[in-house]
Amino acid sequence: MHMSRTHAGVQVNTDACFNFEFDGKTLQGCEGDTIASALLANGVVVIGRGFKYHRPRGVWGSWTEEPNAIVQVTLNKRTLPNCLATTTLLETGMQVKSVNAFPSAAFDIKGGLNLLRRWLGAGFYYKTFMWPNWHLFEPMIRKMAGLGAVSEQCFDDYVSDQLHETCDVLVVGAGPAGLVAARTAAEAGESVWLVDDHHTLGATHFYHEFIEGVAARSWIATQLTAIIAAGATVYSSTTAFGIYDHQLVGLMQLQGFAQAPRLIRLRASRIILATGAIDRPLLFRNNDLPGIFSQSAALDYLSNYGVSVGKRVGLASVHNADQVHDVFAKHAIEVVALNPQDEALSAIGRKQIQSVNTSTARESVDALVVCGGLTPTIHLWSHQQGGLRWQKNIHAFVPNREQAPAGLFVVGAAAGIYTLEDALSDAVHVAIGRASTPNLAAVSIPMPSAKTQNRDSQWIDVQHDVTVKDVDVAVQENYASVEHVKRYTTLGMAVDQGKTSNMLGLAALADKQKVSIPEVGITTFRPPFVPVPLVTYGGQHTHLHSKPPKRLVLEPTHRALNAALCEYGGWLRPGWYGDGRMDEHVQQEVLMTREQAGILDASALGKIEVMGPDARNFLNFVYYNRLDNLQPGHIRYGFMLTEGGSVYDDGVVWCMDEHRFLVSCSSSHVAGVEQLLESWRQDGNNPNQIYVHNATSQWATITVTGPKALDIVNALPLPIELNMAEFKHMRFLEATYQNHTLRIARVSFSGEISFELSVPTTQALMLWNDLLRIGKPLQAGPLGLEAMSVMRAEKGYIIVGKDTDGETMPHDLGFTGPRANKTAAFVGDRSLHTKTAQSSSRRQWVGFTVPKDQPMIPVGAHLVNGGDKPKSIGVVTSSYFSPTLQQPIALGLLEAGALRLGEQVSVWHMGQQSRAKVVSPCFYDVSGARLHAG
């Protein structure tokens, strides 16, 4: 059999033809063809194989309802594995391959599985591969399953454009009802959007030769012209794939093969669905053979693509059969009329249909066109939980207008209105917001049930190879709910997501359970209506735009100094300076700082100003530590807790004056702390007496730390000279530096004398350069975060979130004072006194050492009690080789750790056990002599 174009068709340009390949064979297609229409025009009928039994599969439909025709396509060196042949526009040079078939769709080696299908029915995998363990079988099954091969290419430019739009009225679908609705609304002065997923608008209508007395094509053209003239926005190739809360519609706009679609988030006051209806298959023996087409697809291929599905065509249809007969006859296609209700109806053929058997005869045909009824396309209506009711005369669920979601309307065949006149007049009423009760009783469509014989050869879901018998088995095995039957049999899980199979499945289930279809109910429709590439939802937020770090003003300077830039708490910061091995640089920077001084960019530190008459009391409430007695010029370290009592952040608070405080929280928590402060400020406090200004980005901070820090700072051009006896640890002062305010705080994270110097951000480079210039002859230089991390670990200082988890309370870290003594209320206070908080087996902050010649303890290692089945009693949170002490050190949380100092403990990591000694977390300058030097 070889099909070819009978005429030009409306959508294709037969003057512009080109080559493409299918399974290695060169074929010809035309501009406007889909892959499916071009294959059919070339006489290719077998396009793939079934998912489970590898039976030959052909094209059934002509658009998104297609359950079978998935192909793998390569164009311009880009391969996509799962292209729907019926919707993908053909382009010059496309290499099309069948999927789930080897070596090709026509000769598939696994076709032998078909012979085994007696044993591979519903629930086969569940029943067979449970013992001893599913994971044993999974790799083999996964290898056999799946459609197409994922390409290993990464398309860097596959990034979706996203837009937000609004309109008064959105009309989805440009069939006759949609066109009339759009025109009416637009001419009434509303801002209207009309979208259709087809590549050509108005091409979906092929049943009627005349509409309102005018030739259908010219009627459609007239409507489109009027709609555009009335100012409407009209898009083809645009799918409304989902309706979300508050009338937001997701529109996917195709941009061509292997190009990321555009996502338009359209907020519409009213949404009118004119999404039409989809042909149902008929159930009879071998109804899955290639060469069997839906009635609407056969008409679509004929009228829009000029492709006839056959020369002698069987027609078994419950709806509009006469009309179809006439259309076929006009194109000189011989039609064999068949009774769709005939119990003996069956198809015969090996790779494709060759003849049909009826109760009276055997007819030789080269194609069979069937229609088992129509299913209104109500997906979008259901996304918003629109009510449905069973319309008996057409055997379909239709939208119940009395249970309409806000702003949602349905017209035309999607509303179950199958006569053109009724559909058009109803669409006009709906478009102008007038109530309308259309007559749905004008047409009757029977619903033939599955034949009683050969139930394992009547296919419901052709791609997932689900038969009527599979549904029977599911019912026998007591699966009663439609949702369970769907999952047990995989019915409706083909690429069309049940657009063709859903109603047949419901009918088979109802039949077997001897109840009516409405009693069985319907499975839930969820967005998206068609597959949407995940990148579409992400838009620009991909690659380097997915969680980009915050950037420092001094980044170019750090780069010039050869800094390694790493992500710390959402910031890109210098980890160490220099190329090559990190360890060597870190060791060197630690020793430099301990002996001379290090200069660290600490600009990411939080700088949140809290001002107003209630500022002091407010901070005293928000912080664990007392702040009611903090004097101006003084700084205090403290914790911010959650109401559950766990440590959320640590930082220092400066008292600038009685009504002004500076919260210097950790750099990774600035946004969170600011939000916490704002929510406590407005909920439970007087917001008119407290103001929170997050000025983190206004100030750059450079820390000078080490024994030479004082000399370096005093060499800056400042009007004052720092004197350690007066300027004690945890104090700050303000000075003028090059006509700008300079804040100097004496706080330390390294354990050495440190000064945090803050200037307005645009002055940071000047200060940095001055400090490096002054530091150089003193052997002081830039210091990265890694070395700082080592030094703080030597001092036993925590990093919240690294050394603490969601259960760590301040007293676990040795900060017990406020819990015992603070009388004012504070966030999390009551939670510090629950039974859990008082437990003697809480995990407490300790240090660990191992002998000098042993390897470091890995971070994340568990501390375990002995025995055959070790149980975790703690975890190692930080571990370093200390250059200062020349030995490995580690920190962690250990059950009742404070009572175990000096004990040996077992460390478990990746199945290996070793020993470590529990020690105090402070390894260096325990007396604080260096820190408090004055």
């Binding site: 508050h246 907020r267 939000q675 704002e678 407005q682 209320a825 009551r830 939670s831």
Partner: protein, 87 residues
Amino acid sequence: MQQFPCPFCGERDEREFHFLAEAGKERPNTTVSIDDETWARYLYKQRNEKGEVQEIWMHLTCREVFLLKRHSVTMAVSESVSLRQGC
């Protein structure tokens, strides 16, 4: 994607908002003795109602904390009320 009315800014889409708590939770006075049950009720017990709900939300951009009345099934928003007086 929902739209919420900030009592100060007006309609904005949900990406600008953050749920804080169910409305009506008063922090117990922790300067006096409170039993575990009272504290747990404040800290953990959620009504999680189906239907009309009253919640405290924050408009992240302008930092307004407000009362939002909405329907947890239909997602319809009925009202948003400022918690601020004298402003």
